[in-house]
Each structure stands twice: as C-alpha cells, then as structure tokens.
C-alpha cells in the first residue's frame, strides 16, 4: 500500500529527518528540502537526475514541511542542516525574521529574465504556485461546491481535518471561518462550526497523515493543494479537486539559500535549474501538475488557472497578519478538537 519513499516521507515529516543531511557536504553535492509527497516525488525523479547531468551535483532531498524546516534550521543555530529551503509565504516570513536566509542575489540566475518581474528578491526566488481547495472522492460522495458543504452531510461524516500546522490547513480554516462571519484574523466562527460536526467527522490527523488516510478510504473529502490531488490520482486513488465557489486559495512557493551554507554556488546552480525551462516543463504535465513560473512554459488546460496573471483573482492571505496569531490558533484547535 505504501512504498518505501512514502514511508520515508512520513517518517521525515514526523520528525525523523534530522539524520538525513550532514553527510552531504562533499564537493558537488547539495542538500535541499522538499515537501513530503508530490514535491518529493517530482524532485527526486525529475530534478535530481537533471542536476546531476547538467552540473554534476548530487541532490539530497530532505522531505520536510515548511514549519519543520524552520524548526530544524533554528535548532541548528548557524550550521544549517540543509542548503536550500522550500517554503510557503507564512514560514518564509518567519525565516526572514529569524535571519535564516543568505542574502539572495537574483542576478546570479541565468534564467532570471524568464520569470515574471518581482519573482526573485533579496530573500529568494518563486519556483511554483500552489492552489488550495477541496479534494473529494467522486465514487463515495457527491461533488461539494464550497467550504460550507464540508460541514454538511454527506460530506461532514466523510471529512478529514487538519489544523494550523501547514499553510493549506491554516488557509482552509480561515476560508471556512469567513463563510460564517470570521475573517483573516478571526477563525473562531470556523472552529465553532467544526466543533459542531466533530463527533461525526471521519478523521482529524496530522497533515502528513492525510494523503494516506484518504488513500485508505478513512476519509473521502479534505482540503488540500492541487499537487497532492495529482499525486494521489497518479497512484490510482479516486480523487478530484474542486475550486470552492467562494474562491480557491493561491500562494507562491519560494526557495531560499540557507545562511551559513558552504554550498552557495551549488545552491544557485540548483535554483537556476529549478526555474529553468527544462525542469518547469517537466513538472507541469501529469502526474505532477506544478504551476510553472517560467514564461516559456505554458500552463496545461486542466490546471486551475490559465496563466499566473490569474493569481490576483485567487484568494491571497496576508501571512504577516496570520503568523503572530498562529500559536494561539494551534492551541485553540488542540483544545476544541481534543476528545
């Protein structure tokens, strides 16, 4: 049911990845983080071989969610356990505040002109965009139309929930809350509604556990990003993505060079490759469905948007406002959801 990579990803996501890196500072190597699941699959099978071929750099991937990367980097205090971060907007701000990035020089990227203006700055470079919405199993439940459907039957009793540990979880609960009078900074109405249906909810799990729970039929509807849906689909799971009627959430995913790394040159070569046409074109079609940032790579017809210009039409959350509240939200989620 689970292959070795998935299990490793699970273990790493659950905190076992501390042993992974450190080996890799030999010449011609690079340790980069990646998200467990679809990102790891894609980077391991597509990007790593390309980097080896083009620059003779061995890419070691440490599968970690964004928040875990920050935790490990902070714990390592100046001796980063990896050379490149892969982050969402919220953790990116935390890392900037914590001084975890090397000052980034976009001019070192030969592909800089191929990405839209403003996609690279003094902190790092955008490598993809993510769209978050609702995933459901079309063989088990009807197609939901919006966030409020998740709280009604037949979906509520088949719903898989996660909390505020990840960007997609936080964004989704914010959107649910908005449907009930909440706002970007007020998630209480959402939690009140979720608590009402809690006794019948199918699963409340850690983010890393959700794809596995969906695959095993433990839950048939959940909030997640488009890549997770593509990956599960690629594995033969009955899953479809729905853009909620109130709008799907979109955000950019960025990469950053870790402060204190000895592999700065390799890191730039890696980032240059990642935003380059070859990698972007390889990751855009099925089964990866990554939204490309390279202007030479067109979006595919089944993607949630036709071009990156549409990002503005999607819901964007201001993470500078969310971050200070998140610790209290996590605490609240624990208490409201605890049995």
């Amino acid at each position: 049911m689970f292959n070795r990579r998935q299990l490793l990803a699970g273990a790493a996501a659950l905190g076992g990845a501390s042993l992974l890196p450190s080996l890799a500072h030999a010449k011609g190597s690079l340790v980069a983080t990646t998200y467990p699941g679809s990102w790891e699959d894609a980077y391991r099978s597509v990007v790593a071989p390309m980097l080896k071929k083009k620059d003779d750099i061995t890419l070691d991937l440490a599968p970690l969610f964004a928040m875990d990367q920050i935790g490990k980097a902070k714990a390592a205090r100046g001796a980063p356990p990896f050379d490149v971060f892969l982050l969402d907007p919220g953790p990116r701000i935390v890392a900037i505040e914590g001084g975890l990035f090397d000052k980034f020089d976009p001019k070192k990227l030969s592909n800089l002109s191929k990405i839209p203006d403003g996609f690279a700055d003094e902190y790092g470079v955008c490598v993809s965009a993510q769209v978050v919405g609702i995933a459901y199993n079309p063989k088990k439940v009807p197609k939901p139309t919006g966030w409020t459907d998740l709280l009604k039957d037949p979906w509520a009793s088949r719903l898989g929930l996660t909390g505020f540990q990840t960007t997609f979880g936080t964004s989704s609960i914010i959107e649910i809350s908005k449907q009930f009078g909440g706002s970007l900074t007020n998630i209480d109405p959402g939690l009140v509604e979720l608590k009402k249906i809690l006794p019948k909810v199918a699963a409340v799990g850690l983010p890393a556990a959700m794809p596995g729970l969906f695959q095993q039929g433990q839950c048939d509807v959940m909030y997640t990003n488009t890549q997770t849906v593509s990956t599960l689909k690629g594995k033969g799971v009955d899953i479809e993505f729905v853009k909620p009627e109130s709008g799907a959430i979109a955000f950019y995913t960025t990469m950053h060079v870790a402060k204190g790394t000895e592999a700065v040159e390799n890191a730039y070569k890696y980032l240059d490759l990642v935003i380059g046409k070859d990698v972007q074109a390889a990751l855009t079609p099925e089964p990866y469905n990554f939204l490309p940032v390279n202007k030479d790579v067109p979006l595919t017809p089944d993607m949630p948007m036709k071009s990156l210009d549409e990002m503005a039409k999607y819901i964007n959350h201001d993470w500078a406002k969310i971050n200070p509240l998140r610790a209290a939200w996590i605490d609240k989620f624990n208490k409201e959801m605890a049995k």
Binding site: I70, V94, V204, Q216, A327, A338
Partner: protein
C-alpha cells in the same frame, strides 16, 4: 585500592559520554524552560506557570500516563500467558517463538504503524472481515480511537514486555513447579504463589519498558490516534517545531520526563518490594 581505582577509570569513558550527551542537553533543557518568551531573552518562570496554569495540560499529562498504563495492562494480559507457554516449549520451538517475538523489532516503527492503518482503517482488514461475515453493517471506527491506538501499541510494544519476562522466567527452576504440585497445590495456586512472584522482576522490567516506550511513541500516537487524542509528545512537537516556543516545549518535555519517571519509580519500587517478598 588500586583495583578500585582501575574500575573507576573503566567507567570513565561511559561517564563522560553520558555527561556530554545526556546530562548537558538535559541541563540545557532545564535552562531553556526558565525563559518566558519564545525568543529566549527574558528569564523567568512564565513558561512553567503558563503550562501548569492551563487545566488542559493536566488532562494531557493524565491521558499520556493512562495510555501507558492501558498498554501495560494489555501487553501483560497477552504477553504473560505467552511467556508461560514459552516455558513449556522444547528448545527448538522456544527459538522459533523468540524469533517471532523479536521480528517486529527488526521493522521500523513507522512501517509497523502504517501497517496498522491498513489493518484498522475504515476499509481495512478488520472491517472488511467483519462486514463480509455480516457481523456489522457499518464499518467500525477503530482508527483515530484510543481503542485502536492501544491495540496497535500492544503489538508494537509486545517485544519489550516479552523479552525481559522470558529471560527471567526461563531461569525459574522447573522443579519448583513439580514440588508445588507434589505438595498438593493446584495449577492456579502454583501460578500465583510460585511462578508469578519469581517472575516479578521480569514482569516489572517489561512494564517499565512498555510504559516508557508507549507514553513517548509520537508516531504511533499521532498517526493511529490522530490529533484529537492529545498526548504530551504531540504538544512537545507542536511547541518545538510548529510554534517554535522552545521554553514551553522544554516545560512540556520535562513534564513528560518527570511524570513518566515517577510512574517508573513506583513500578520499580513495587518490583523491589515483590523481590523482597520472594526472597524473604
């Protein structure tokens, strides 16, 4: 005197390693817990008072300890009879049984935990069989319940119970059982007055290991139990790696350590006491 000094010196490498790798980080942990803020700049007892000023955390501590005790109960109930069976087996079958017992230890706990998702899930083995036999009409909810978690922890922790138990029980002189029977004791009386007291050190050692391991089994607790069942390891992980409030994470870690060690001390005390009873 000279030999004593030599013995002392022999223990030095381990002692130094212990000091560097265990004691120093532990002191650091204690130190970090006495900061009020997540940036670790302001000394104080704010994290301690914050943690223990919240009634929810008491519930988490109690639930964590109860989980350990429940796992002890199930591993003893299933493991002890197995150890009794082991005593009566031929040496060859004993080797087979030992292999079967040790085998789960050769698998990563992650693999064992994910296997339990497949077994306990809504469309898992247990539900498919029960549904197929017509015993139930709706799938049972086993995953993300404490029952499911205790079932899986019982299997996951079983070697830790059985290995010390078997090692102690195999040293019990078989003649004692015959002597007890010859003196007219029933099998049950022999079990409770002869075998059980003599196996007590192994039983207590097994309980200690199972307790310490199950209360800290973060992966099993979160993957099988889900996040509605909140135990201390989840709180520590969230504070340390999601919220980055290290002082609070340190307080939670120390609370876990102290509460688990208290129960372990109580169990060892029972063990020593029963040992005295046997010898006296």
């Amino acid at each position: 005197m000279r030999s004593k000094l030599a013995e002392w010196q022999l223990a030095l490498p381990l002692g130094l390693a212990f000091a560097a790798l265990f004691l120093a980080p532990l002191l650091l942990l204690v130190g970090v817990s006495f900061y009020n803020d997540e940036k670790i700049t302001q000394l104080g007892v704010g994290s301690w008072s914050g943690f223990f000023g919240d009634a929810f955390n008491y519930k988490v501590i109690v639930d964590t300890l109860l989980l350990g005790l429940k796992t002890i109960c199930t591993t003893v109930v299933i493991g002890y009879p197995l150890a009794l069976v082991y005593m009566d087996l031929s040496p060859r079958l004993q080797k087979v049984l030992i292999f079967v017992i040790v085998m789960p230890l050769l698998l990563s706990v992650v693999v064992r935990t994910f296997a339990w998702i497949v077994v306990l899930g809504r469309e898992g083995v247990v539900n498919s069989v029960l549904l197929g036999l017509g015993i139930i009409s709706e799938p049972l909810k086993l995953l993300q319940t404490e029952l499911g978690l205790v079932i899986s922890l019982t299997q996951i922790e079983m070697p830790l119970m059985l290995l010390p138990l078997i090692s102690v029980m195999s040293r019990v002189d078989p003649n004692l059982r015959d002597a007890s029977a010859a003196l007219g004791a029933s099998r049950w009386r022999t079990l409770f007055t002869v075998i059980l007291p003599l196996s007590m050190p192994g039983l207590v050692a097994g309980c200690l290991l199972v307790f310490a391991s199950s209360t800290t089994a973060f992966i099993s607790q979160t993957v099988i139990g889900g996040v509605r069942l909140i135990y201390l390891p989840l709180v520590i992980w969230q504070q340390a790696l999601v919220v980055y409030h290290w002082p609070l994470a340190a307080v939670a870690s120390l609370s876990l350590m102290i509460s688990v060690m208290t129960v372990i001390a109580a169990l060892s005390w029972i063990g020593r006491r029963s040992g005295g009873y046997v010898n006296g």
